[in-house]
Symmetry: C2
Subunit: 329 residues, 2 copies
């Protein structure tokens, strides 16, 4: 280490090291924010389920989330314009060449969400929760193939463990039924995992394509298309309910908190994509899943199962292996 500190140009060395440290700090903060927001998101869902059935239209809530994210991005931009002035990197106007790829993640999620309604013909809800862990594997594979970023052997092993550990932690007495899923269910689950992984990887590619571009501008355009696609979803799925009962029917305090939370976690995901990567996102949401269960013990007097402990051990070892398994070139 000391050897590395010696350089022909001490200032340059200092510069790189302090910039690396600030990058690492920013990466840590956005990861932590995503973990905490994802945990509290799951806790809000449990709370809202305890409080009663979902009486609002999920599609309108999703639309509100996109709108709120858009508004927050604009507010952040307005502040930046006031202090830094309008530059090439933070101006809102865009070119067709830049914006053409922005609808893709939102479009992929739309298809995935539509498929979600059909998979329940083959798999029950707890089974779907188990199958969703396939996302972990699909994200890793697509990250490797599309973004061409390499993971070391140990990091691949850690990724398989993350998937196995998360699934183990979610096991309960009915989990074995998922093994009876018909082949159509498996195919749909795999397609949905690929769509979700592809959307994530694509979002990362967009955010990193032009590193100097202000993240709030990138978010604004992403969320604009999110609003459009969610408006389409309202028309397809909930037109009658919205027309008869109104857009905001069934909204409660919890609904509002959930929308706020989803908006903030959405922004945190964007930041993780820009300043870290999809792998960090997957680890962050997996650890959040475990945190949620632990917090639920205190909030809702949940019981933790032996499977949960074992899964948590495997996930922890996976996090450890991922961190020590960095490629040495």
């Amino acid at each position: 280490m000391q050897l590395l500190m010696v350089s022909l140009n001490p200032l340059a060395t200092l510069g790189v090291s302090s910039s690396d440290r600030s990058k690492w700090k920013r990466k840590s903060i956005v990861t932590l924010a995503l973990t905490i927001l994802t945990s509290s998101q799951a806790i809000l869902i449990v709370w809202s389920k305890r409080a009663g059935k979902y009486e609002y239209s999920v599609t309108t809530a999703n639309f509100m989330v996109e709108t709120l994210k858009c508004a927050l991005s604009l507010a952040a931009l307005a502040r930046i314009w006031r202090t830094e002035g309008v530059t090439e990197d933070n101006r809102l106007s865009t070119t067709l060449n830049e914006v053409i790829v922005y609808p893709i993640p939102a479009f992929l999620y739309l298809i995935k969400n539509l498929l979600q309604y059909y998979i329940f013909a083959y798999v029950n809800a707890p089974g779907y929760q188990i199958l969703k862990n396939l996302n972990i594997i699909s994200t890793g594979v697509l990250y490797r193939i599309i973004l061409k970023r390499e993971l070391s052997e140990i990091q691949w092993a850690a990724f398989v463990l993350l998937c196995a550990g998360c699934t183990t932690a979610q096991l309960n007495s009915n989990s074995d039924r998922v093994l009876e899923t018909p082949v159509q269910g498996w195919i749909m689950a795999i397609v949905m995992a690929l769509l979700s992984g592809f959307a994530g990887v694509y979002a990362e590619a967009i955010m990193k394509r032009r590193p100097s571009r202000n993240i709030n501008v990138q978010n604004f355009w992403l969320y604009i298309f999110g609003m459009i696609f969610n408006a389409i979803a309202i028309v397809i799925q909930d037109f009658d309910a919205v027309a008869n009962k109104g857009f905001f029917h069934g909204y409660s305090l919890i609904t509002t908190l959930m929308i706020l939370n989803h908006a903030l976690s959405g922004i945190a995901v964007s930041m993780v994509m820009k300043y870290a990567d999809n792998i960090v996102k997957v680890y962050s949401t997996s650890v959040a899943m475990l945190l949620t269960a632990v917090v639920s013990v205190f909030l809702f007097s949940f019981h933790l199962s032996l499977a949960f402990f074992l899964g948590s051990i495997v996930v922890s070892v996976s996090v450890y292996l991922h961190s020590i398994g960095k490629l040495r070139r």
Copy 2:
């Protein structure tokens, strides 16, 4: 690799490489033998349980196992004496200094087996199966402390995964009861794991203390003390049954096969201790546990649970990590 093949003395290089290869081959064969014998042992136990209750005294069966191992070691020695003559390394006579440590593993197992009767006051049999996985951790820790052999960070992580994976594979709907084990049960389980780990590590120390000593002589003395301690166990636990119903009461074909199998696996364990180590033994018996379950699907139409699949994945990754995690010095 090609660079390594070049040497000032090609014959010496060839000698080392061929000796290394023959060592590796011997290590693989004894490991494979232990894995197959351990699997078939578990299958015989399932078969005997299906065939009816244990009607024989377990202590007399254990005594017969030790006697058979002793006889097989003597038979092997007799053959070696005929072909190679009696040498310093293969003569049966011993010194007090050599033999004084031989009773220790058998004595530790005796205490462990006696404790086994008391732990069932606190834990049920399936719970005990789960707690027995603590052996994996205790063996790793004692291997490190007593034999002073180092494992790399990755190998330690692999060892924790092996324990978690084996436990996961054994999970069933009643497993959560083990979390209600009272503190006395936990203490006894930990003490038993330490006794068992200590016995294994001690046996390895004995086998490797004098590498040139013929393994059959070492086995002979180990098993002589095994016979003595099992004779004591017969007197303590089954004196009445043996006095009234005879030594071989309740023996059947399965009992005979089980004794034969235990004797052969006992010899395989000794060979693994001499030519490989405790870590290899733990991996071998863990993989055997998974093999047993898979074979049982065909033999006894067992159903494999999702937990079994997940545990198997974790164990497989652990084996992989152990093999790539070798210390590079």
